[in-house]
Symmetry: C2
Subunit: 208 residues, 2 copies
């Protein structure tokens, strides 16, 4: 179910930078950020330590590139989904499907990004926190628009938005390449649970 | 909102062992398990490295003691809650309130336990996985009993149980001593969201 590492960052150029980021994810995941050296990353990517410095000034810059890319793509996905769907129920369903499938497929990256937030420099951390806030605000707006339209009922919009994101993010903690169901199926099941959580009455029952 | 470390493991004796566990949580949380030495832990607890070995044979034994205690107490809480409440709705409400408040209050321990699962020895890891499975099975049984009683409607009992636990566990990821609302209030709000997620129609609205 996992994608090959070279597909993780289609936007990153050149290939060498992408290969270093993939090698870093695997090293950070297996031995932790602090115990990983730039030499470990370079070696895992089949390069010399000097070659790493051509692309990244420091180990934390590799971590930041991984973290920023993940958060930017999530924000972009949420924006795109909301632009594609006027109906809050449709938008929420598709958003959760995509968000959950994303975290299931890229569970290794997401885990590294979560665990090592504190290892970012304060400036880099700030960038990531702002991307998170932007994503959370959009989800909150979507819950609010559903409440305003009378299709969602929640005790607290802020807590509901937090819970929706939480459900998706936590998938990365427990999902593994042998987990069932497949990321897209899990996404559909979670979307149904979330709509129900938001007090949306219509419950679809589809075979899966 | 956080409890003082000495209250984290009321069942652990002697005090020195409890102090070492608290020092280990803070060290693992701040610099990661791999970068922490037994000397760091002993020093943080105001002891000599030799004194640590009186209580724990190795660094991983401290981690295991922390992890086992957390998982045992969670399992015990779920068991107690289910024994106290015959009604599946009441049992689920109280279970989520307690589970969420627990993860909010002890977010630092819960984070260490989650992040460093892979650092346990295979035997210790197995013990923890079995405690988790036992907890998850109880939650699944509770969802099933609600479905059988006609008060819950879910597309998939296993996925619903996973989502309930996931929501609670992920609280430890984002909760901090400055977070709002207070752990118990968050627990009540999440309980309401979970009952709704489980298709339970009655929605209580209480001022908070």
């Amino acid at each position: 179910m996992s994608e090959p590492p070279e597909d993780w960052w289609p936007e990153v150029r050149p290939d060498a930078a992408r290969r270093l980021m993939a090698a870093a994810v695997e090293s950070f995941a297996s031995r932790g950020y602090h115990a990983t050296t730039t030499r470990d990353i370079a070696t895992a990517a089949g390069m010399s330590p000097a070659a790493l410095y051509v692309h990244f000034p420091a180990k934390s810059a590799v971590l930041f590139a991984i973290s920023r890319s993940g958060h930017e793509r999530t924000l972009q996905m949420v924006r795109t989904t909301m632009a594609e769907h006027d109906d809050p129920v449709d938008a929420m369903r598709v958003l959760v499907e995509r968000f959950v499938a994303w975290h299931a497929k890229r569970h290794m990256i997401a885990r590294v990004v979560q665990h090592e937030l504190d290892a970012l420099t304060p400036e880099d951390h700030q960038v990531v926190l702002e991307l998170r806030r932007a994503t959370e605000n959009l989800v909150r707006d979507l819950v609010t628009s559903g409440v305003d339209a009378g299709v969602f009922t929640v005790p607290d919009v802020r807590i509901a938005a937090r819970a929706i994101l939480s459900l998706g993010i936590d998938v990365a903690r427990w999902y593994s390449p042998t987990s069932k169901p497949a990321p897209e199926v899990l996404g559909k099941q979670y979307a149904e649970l979330v709509l129900s959580m938001l007090g949306h009455g219509v419950r679809r029952r589809e075979p899966h």
